[in-house]
């Protein structure tokens, strides 16, 4: 394998990432938790745990269930609230050797705009992700990403508060994700994160109780990869802004599928719970893959899946 350097950097609006790998919000703390196990300077960035206007203790326990090739979580946005967060946490992000992206959640349009504005004022934060798709909060949370009009309004309100790159995180729990993606783009999103977790549930057949304190939760991990990949593919055909593809990525091959489907960068969440060395392995593997094919930049493969191939044998009968 040649030692020629390949370019793994990508752009999300005005944000440049040295590597196209973002650690998914809520999965990676603020990075420090994983620092003993991984060289943080070799990941693209960390999307921080979502923060809300008020402190939240989060959901009752249990909050996690392992499922076939995946897991359900219902953390419920446990966080200290924006005031405490700005005072105690954000300053510590300054010395991380990778890009730090804030994540904002809320229960009203005003919430999102308020927290977004306060967070975006801090230089430690390179960009803001709007989590309008958390399935684990009592009512409102996910509703935004499930409704094109609400999506447009909340993104517009957040956009007005900041010039920082704005990533909008979409939900897979919708009939037509492309329509929602278009609204987010039109309302001013610089990039889209596709997707958050898929809603699910598990029941303990001994006690007859739900296995999550919150009853329902969000499914992540390899189980949802085909679902997430299709969402990325459909969104990529509907918008022109870059996409951070995520959902079940745990190997370089998985990552490549997402780039080919149209993602400019990828998110890695649950895979860190399998093995914290995965993000570095993916970066190494992407470089090797590009070198083997004499490609110079990861950007050359984005959206290149060849879906035009026809098959002569398709046969539909005489439909009306």
């Amino acid at each position: 394998m040649g030692q020629e350097t390949v370019d793994l950097s990508v752009q999300l609006g005005s944000l440049t990432l040295a590597y196209p790998t973002l650690m998914g919000s809520g999965c990676y703390g603020s990075g420090q938790e994983f620092a003993p196990f991984v060289d943080l300077s070799r990941i693209g960035g960390i999307v921080l745990k979502s923060v809300t206007r008020q402190p939240r203790l989060g959901n009752p326990t249990p909050r996690l269930v392992h499922t076939p090739s995946g897991m359900l979580n219902a953390i419920g946005l446990q966080n200290p609230g924006i005031d405490f967060y700005l005072e105690h946490d954000v300053a510590t992000f300054a010395d991380r050797p990778c890009t730090m992206i804030g994540s904002v959640a809320g229960f009203s349009i005003d919430d999102y705009a308020y927290v977004c504005e306060r967070l975006a004022a801090r230089r430690e934060i390179a960009a803001v992700e709007l989590n309008i798709s958390c399935p684990n909060v009592a009512s409102e949370g996910e509703t935004f990403a499930c409704d094109p009009r609400l999506t447009a309004r909340v993104v517009g309100a957040a956009r007005a508060t900041t010039d920082k790159p704005l990533i909008v995180k979409l939900s897979p729990n919708v009939t037509d994700i492309a329509a929602i993606a278009r609204q987010a783009q039109d309302a001013g999103a610089d990039a889209l994160a596709v997707v958050n977790t898929v809603r699910g549930m598990a029941i303990d057949v001994q006690t007859w109780q739900p296995r999550l304190g919150n009853v329902t939760g969000g499914l992540s991990g390899p189980a949802i990869r085909p679902i997430a990949l299709l969402a990325v593919y459909e969104v990529a055909r509907a918008v022109t802004i870059p996409i951070v593809g995520q959902g079940g990525i745990e190997s370089v091959s998985d990552a490549l599928e997402f780039f080919l489907a149209g993602a400019s960068a990828i998110g890695i969440g649950t895979a860190n719970f399998i093995d914290p060395r995965i993000p570095e392995r993916i970066v190494d593997g992407l470089a090797a893959y590009l070198r083997q094919r004499n490609l110079h930049s990861i950007r050359e493969i984005v959206g290149r899946a060849n879906v035009g191939f026809a098959n002569a044998h398709q046969y539909e009968g005489d439909e009306d």
Binding site: P55, P80, F273
Partner: protein, 275 residues
């Protein structure tokens, strides 16, 4: 309890020895230059199943010597099944040591360690440390049946007084191990406990009635195991020294804070839990 996580890293270990202590109970010796040295009583590691097909699994550090550590587990699901297929010479990567162990700084002189089922895996290191410090250690060991009272002799050899109970009465007392603890004539001055949650609750109860403090090593479902996901929490009094950095005001009628079992724990003071 003091943070002991600075020496954590991913250790790529080699299985140095393997023993099936009972049907479905496996002890794996790990050749690992500094995992054993770094480990403190009550800490755990996240073992990475070699197939990469499932989340890492939290396991207590059973033994810790210079260049050998070991894990002891009950095969109860997909990941422990996979680990049970490992043979001498195979590779096993583990992140650790993790979490905060037992707080032995008060220098207790007479300690009861209560262990149930797989909890025994977290009992040996504190027992050894206490005996080395000159304390009297009694092991209250409970299991479903005699065969599952695994490696009891090891604790006797280390200098523990053994008290056993089994659900079926095949060894020791028939019934719960906490019933034996409760009947102890001379009360210990501290209790350490590791095992299933119902047992821990019972231990907390006995300790409260004895008027002594208990440290409980909790079991929760983990995802990250390192404090990154807030999935493994347990409610703690907001006043606990182990409570995470979180606003303390009593809002919404709540005076608890959710602490991460993997990060602030897995060992907590029983009287600071609000479960």
């Amino acid at each position: 309890m003091p943070s002991l996580q600075t020496r954590a890293r991913v250790h790529v270990t080699t299985i140095s020895d393997r023993c099936e202590l009972a049907p479905g109970v496996v002890l794996l010796g790990l050749h690992a230059p500094d995992l054993g040295k770094a480990a403190r009583p009550g800490q755990f590691l996240m073992a990475i199943p070699p197939s990469g097909a499932a989340a890492a699994v939290a396991l207590g550090i059973y033994e810790a010597r210079a260049d050998r550590a070991s894990i002891l587990f009950f095969v109860c699901g997909k990941r422990t099944s996979e680990l049970s297929t490992l043979r001498v010479g195979d590779t096993l990567a583990c992140s650790g040591p993790l979490g905060n162990g037992f707080d032995l700084s008060a220098n207790p002189r007479d300690v009861a360690i209560v262990a149930g089922g797989a909890g025994i895996a977290s009992a040996l290191l504190p027992a050894e440390a206490l005996i080395a410090a000159g304390a009297r250690v009694r092991l209250y060991y409970g299991a479903r049946t005699q065969a599952l009272l695994v490696d009891a002799q090891r604790f006797a050899d280390a200098g523990c007084e053994l008290h056993a109970a089994t659900d079926d009465g095949s060894a020791g007392r028939r019934g719960y191990i906490t019933e034996l603890l409760e009947q102890a004539q001379d009360r210990p001055d501290m209790v350490l406990a590791c095992g299933p949650t119902p047992m821990l609750r019972a231990v907390a109860d006995v300790a409260r009635r004895f008027g002594i403090r208990a440290q409980l090593s909790l079991e929760e479902t983990f995802a990250c195991g390192v404090g990154g996901c807030w999935g493994c929490v347990v409610p703690l009094t907001a006043e606990s020294a182990q409570a995470p950095n979180f606003p303390r005001e009593d809002r919404g009628g709540s005076d608890v804070v959710f602490a991460r079992v993997c990060k602030e724990g897995p060992v907590f003071w029983a009287d600071e839990l609000r479960w």
